[in-house]
Symmetry: C2
Subunit: 150 residues, 2 copies
């Protein structure tokens, strides 16, 4: 077991950032995610929409699939998702079906983020917290699109 | 090529219903989908959330992945999705990323369907039409849950 119980949100977000940087290296929109259960990281994923040629291959969707595989169950009530960018409509919907316990995200996404939507697409028992390492998470995405346009 | 160009919405919905019945047989919530491009069915899928132990394995998500694989591209602008039940938040978000041309659904889903949400989670250029073979599509779901409860 490489992760200890009781690490901070910032620690796990750094792990998600590592994944986001891996996406950047692959020329993917740099979003990374980890899912933590009882202090252990049980899924580490990053956006692979270009590599897989599939719009559904967001970091969060891949993380849910991976965590369900690890746990042998499709509900993630006891888990926390750390993701570098606010989840979009699709991912928020998926997280709702998974009944995830907690969502911690880095940068906000005013255009695509779930928090624009009414009623909230999250499961009523899901706790959500944004703004953890927001600047670092957001800069990575901004740098990516700046490089794309240049 | 087994499908001809110019079939009606009802015809393609019947094909989606075949998939939904297959899901029913597998003890899955009976929702089926097909994606049609230039009159040809390029993806046929049904809900597999129990079989795959994965909340993201809705018929629509599997259909998008399958159609993208067939077309070799991740955008489905020229395609129509036929699905027996109104897409949920997750699936509507995925269909938006895919920029699907048209969505035709059977039964409405007042609790989970995308049309509850504001602003609309669909891509602005996506056309949506509900109510095709609605009774047949809805009965299948109702029968499934009635059987589950008995």
């Amino acid at each position: 077991m490489s992760e200890k119980i009781g690490f901070t949100d910032e620690y796990y977000m750094q792990q998600a950032l590592k994944e986001a940087r891996e996406a950047f290296r692959k020329d993917e929109v740099p979003v990374g995610a980890v899912i933590v259960c009882e202090g252990r990281i049980i899924a580490r994923t990053h956006n692979l929409t270009e590599t897989l040629n599939d719009v559904t291959a967001h970091a969060e969707i891949l993380a849910i699939t991976s965590a369900s595989e690890t746990l042998g169950g499709k509900y993630l009530n006891g888990c926390t998702l750390y993701v570098t960018l606010e989840p979009c409509t699709m991912c928020a919907g998926a997280l709702s079906w998974a009944q995830i316990g907690r969502i911690v995200y880095g940068a906000s996404d005013p255009q695509r983020g779930f928090s624009r939507l009414t009623p909230s697409p999250l499961h009523p028992r899901t706790e959500a917290l944004g703004g953890i390492l927001a600047e670092e998470c957001g800069s990575l995405v901004k740098d990516f699109f700046k490089r794309k346009r240049s």
